[in-house]
């Protein structure tokens, strides 16, 4: 069964609006919630003092919040399909709560890994401040991961839309667990891509936009047999091109 057109549009608009709003926050960076540019505080190598100084200027908690905001901005549009699925799979009165629990579970997975990611970012900034080497290293890891069977396995699992209980607390549990598992597979497929922009001394925002496009695109692809394969997974681009062509043909009256 499918949700009505109106319900689907509503979900799309709400999610895309939230994502855009958070993107604006990130790009304008009010109150310096994205602390990445302040990480490069020392050029004298790692030491207790430099770590303390760095953490004083950029508390771990605020870096983690920044990480969470980045996850929401980048990945929320990816949740449109599972949230539509949750809504049609649940009673009307439970749609909102179960959707929120799903998002909470999903973000939890990214936040958990965020602790390690932020730790890694701090360490690399202390070791090699203002250097492109960490970003370059992670970029190569990301490229290898990108074409690996493990990545494909994670992407495939992202299509596993588990059946949900709908009565009582199991309904809420299932929605949360669905989000947690969905997030876990998403982390599995995209951890390296997400880490890469964070390590760039410059061009961080542009890299984030590129990574968002790649990650949204690859999650739109169908599951495939896991194997080594150079596959740029450009489905989002293909959709945009095809839909533009269709609109143009409609305007010209040739379709």
């Amino acid at each position: 069964m499918k949700l009505s057109w109106k319900n689907r549009i509503t979900i799309n608009l709400v999610i895309i609006s939230i994502s855009l709003f958070v993107w604006v926050l990130l790009l304008i960076n009010p109150g310096h919630i994205m602390t990445i540019e302040h990480c490069h505080v020392s050029t004298s190598g790692p030491s207790t003092a430099s770590l303390q100084m760095l953490l004083e200027m950029n508390p771990f908690s605020s870096q983690l919040i920044g990480w969470g905001i980045m996850v929401v901005a980048m990945m929320l549009p990816k949740l449109i399909v599972p949230i539509q699925y949750i809504c049609i799979q649940n009673f009307k009165e439970n749609r909102l709560l179960t959707s929120l629990l799903f998002v909470f579970g999903y973000v939890s997975a990214w936040m958990l890994v965020g602790v390690f990611m932020v730790g890694a970012i701090i360490s690399l900034n202390l070791l090699l401040p203002m250097s492109y080497i960490p970003a370059l290293g992670v970029f190569f890891i990301a490229v290898i991961w990108q074409f690996s069977p493990i990545k494909q396995r994670c992407l495939n699992q992202g299509h596993d839309h588990r059946r949900l209980a709908v009565f009582g607390w199991p309904a809420y549990r299932d929605a949360f667990l669905f989000g947690l598992m969905h997030g876990t597979w998403c982390v599995g497929s995209g951890w390296a891509l997400m880490l890469w922009p964070m390590l760039l001394p410059n061009g961080h925002n542009l890299a984030m936009i590129m990574v968002t496009f790649i990650m949204l695109s690859e999650h739109l692809e169908h599951p495939q047999i896991p194997r080594w394969r150079i596959d740029f997974r450009t489905k989002l681009l293909r959709i945009l091109v095809a839909q533009t062509q269709i609109k143009l043909k409609q305007v010209q009256g040739t379709i």
Binding site: K2, S4, N7, V81, Q89, V166, F167, P223
Partner: protein, 538 residues
């Protein structure tokens, strides 16, 4: 421009006295003599539909009993196929595993597939075998009520071991365990009731009149979006007769193994596959021929899957693997088909709408008849129809259900608030409003047993049977469907109407029984993640 005519395979009693079948067999033999690396080989063409070949370990360990479907284990595949030397990946990526099932592209994709192989076969017949230039693919109309032949049987040309010249018959398949189609309106029978559908799909124009699916289901499935997640809706013609016939022809052997035709990834190895699909194609042409039925006019249907960023339909034209790309728009009409830059034309010697059914279904879900049944005066002239119907879950089963031997039973608990809305819809119906339609859905059906059938009962009333064709593929985790399994949707409005008339609409649960036609493999089982009940309202 020549118009080729596809004729009944049962002409000349379905034997090799029928020249269409004899030349088909000879040309199939030529294609079968080519190695799988040749895009014009029989084996390559079968893999276009689907394969269990790449890689050899494709059938996962969770389905060990199905290793016999792996192509390396299929005795029908000749050694000349050289299946250990698979073609270059760019060819397999472009051409293999394309079949469109449970999508609204089912009909146009298969039409292009037939046209493509028909041209290769004709080319062999004319240029290599010096046969008739007007040869066309015959069709097997298993629903034909001929008094001369029992046409629900597979034509004898497919069961003879030898050709008239004594050579092995390439149309004879060892791993084909079924031989007759059970036709009728009983459970698990093939019929052509679908031909009375008037709507191509939910994306069709003009929009369907009435709530839910006004005739129960759509002719060619629900609209296919950019992702093919679980919950896709198989169209009426695809389910019955198409899927039913696949299961019946595939059949099962004594080890309860499914024959090639019963599974999508082996089906096109069997030469009878193309005659079965020619019949489905003929039915579509006949459905269009009435002038009352229209294919979808939505751009995303006309353009095909590439409208949603998915691969284009592609068929190899020659041994180099040069492709013919096509869209549903190209294949809309059999007499004006856009084939490889030219116009191609074919027809059928019989374009009767139906061969078995002569009257519309006895219990249709048409609005006016539903109103009559419910005692509501004819109001549909004053009822404002909307295209955006609301769908809402009203009840669901708990926990995974298992069909171990041949049946399972479940209580589908209903949500009080949501079910009250269904009740209320009946009482406001005399005002210009239509009572809700109610659907039952088997969600996440997983397992093997593709040639099997499931029958569904609600409160001990038979609802419908469905074929499990494609179940194994849909249950594989790292496959196209992502392990989502199959989803089956049933319109149970009739049963809800009866409950209403009996004064039993205010209930808190429905009893659902699911029966498998054939006993399952020992140690194997079919699972159903959930049974959901949905209301659809205006």
């Amino acid at each position: 421009m020549a118009t080729f005519t596809r004729k009944n395979a049962w002409n000349n009693n379905g034997t090799f006295d029928n020249p269409d079948l004899l030349w088909y067999a000879k040309a199939v033999q030529v294609m079968q003599s080519r190695p799988i690396s040749d895009p014009t080989s029989w084996w390559f063409y079968a893999a276009i539909h689907g394969e269990y070949l790449l890689p050899a370990s494709m059938i996962p360990s969770s389905f060990p009993d199905y290793q016999y479907l792996n192509w390396i284990n299929i005795s029908y595949i000749a050694t000349t196929a050289k299946i250990d030397k698979i073609p270059a990946q760019k060819l397999t990526d472009l051409f293999w595993d394309q079949c469109q099932h449970a999508t609204w592209y089912f009909l146009p994709w298969h039409r292009g597939y037939l046209v493509s192989i028909e041209n290769i076969l004709r080319d062999i017949i004319i240029n290599q075998l010096k046969g008739p230039e007007d040869w066309a693919l015959p069709y097997w109309n298993y629903l034909n009520q001929s008094t001369q032949n029992t046409e629900q049987n597979i034509p004898p040309a497919f069961t003879d071991v030898s050709l008239p010249d004594g050579k092995p018959n390439p149309l004879h398949v060892v791993e084909r365990y079924g031989s007759i189609i059970e036709i009728g309106n009983a459970e698990n029978s093939a019929n052509d009731i679908c031909q009375f559908d008037t709507i191509y799909s939910d994306g069709s124009s003009p929009a369907p009149l009435g709530p839910g699916d006004s005739t129960g289901y759509f002719y060619s499935g629900g609209e296919t979006g950019f992702m093919h997640e679980g919950g896709s809706e198989t169209g009426d013609i695809e389910m019955n007769p198409h899927n039913f016939v696949h299961g019946m022809v595939g059949g099962r052997n004594k080890k309860k193994q499914t024959g090639l035709m019963g599974v999508p990834n082996t089906a096109a190895l069997d030469p009878v596959f193309y005659l079965h699909h020619a019949n489905v194609d003929r039915m579509w042409a006949a459905w269009n021929e009435t002038g009352k039925n229209e294919n979808s006019s939505k751009p995303s249907w006309l353009v095909g899957p590439s409208a949603h960023g998915n691969s284009r339909f592609a068929m190899p034209l020659d041994l180099k693997g040069n492709p013919w790309f096509y869209t549903p728009a190209d294949t809309q009409s059999t007499n004006n088909l856009k084939y490889n830059g030219t116009t191609y034309s074919y027809t059928y010697d019989d374009l009767s709408l139906t061969s078995f059914e002569k009257a519309p279904p006895s219990e249709p879900m048409r609005i006016s008849e539903r109103f009559a049944k419910l005692g509501i005066r004819d109001l549909h002239n004053v009822i404002k129809m909307t295209n955006d119907r609301k769908t809402e879950l009203v009840g669901a089963s708990s926990g995974t259900l298992k069909i171990k031997n041949s049946e399972t039973q479940a209580t589908v608990k209903l949500n009080t608030t949501a079910w009250e809305s269904v009740s209320r819809s009946f009482f406001i119906a005399p005002i210009p409003s239509i009572p809700d339609e109610v659907f039952l859905q088997l969600e996440g059906v997983n397992g093997g047993s593709d040639s099997n059938f499931l029958s569904v009962y609600v409160n001990e009333k038979f609802v419908k049977s469905v074929s499990l064709f494609g179940l194994l593929s849909a249950s594989m985790k790292n496959n196209f469907h992502g392990g989502a399994g199959l989803t089956f949707k049933f319109n149970i409005t009739n049963i809800i109407d009866d409950l209403h008339l009996a004064g039993n609409i205010d209930i808190d649960s429905l009893n659902v029984q699911v029966k498998a036609k054939d006993a399952l493999h020992k140690g194997d089982e079919i699972t159903i993640d959930r049974i959901g009940v949905y209301r659809v309202s205006q």
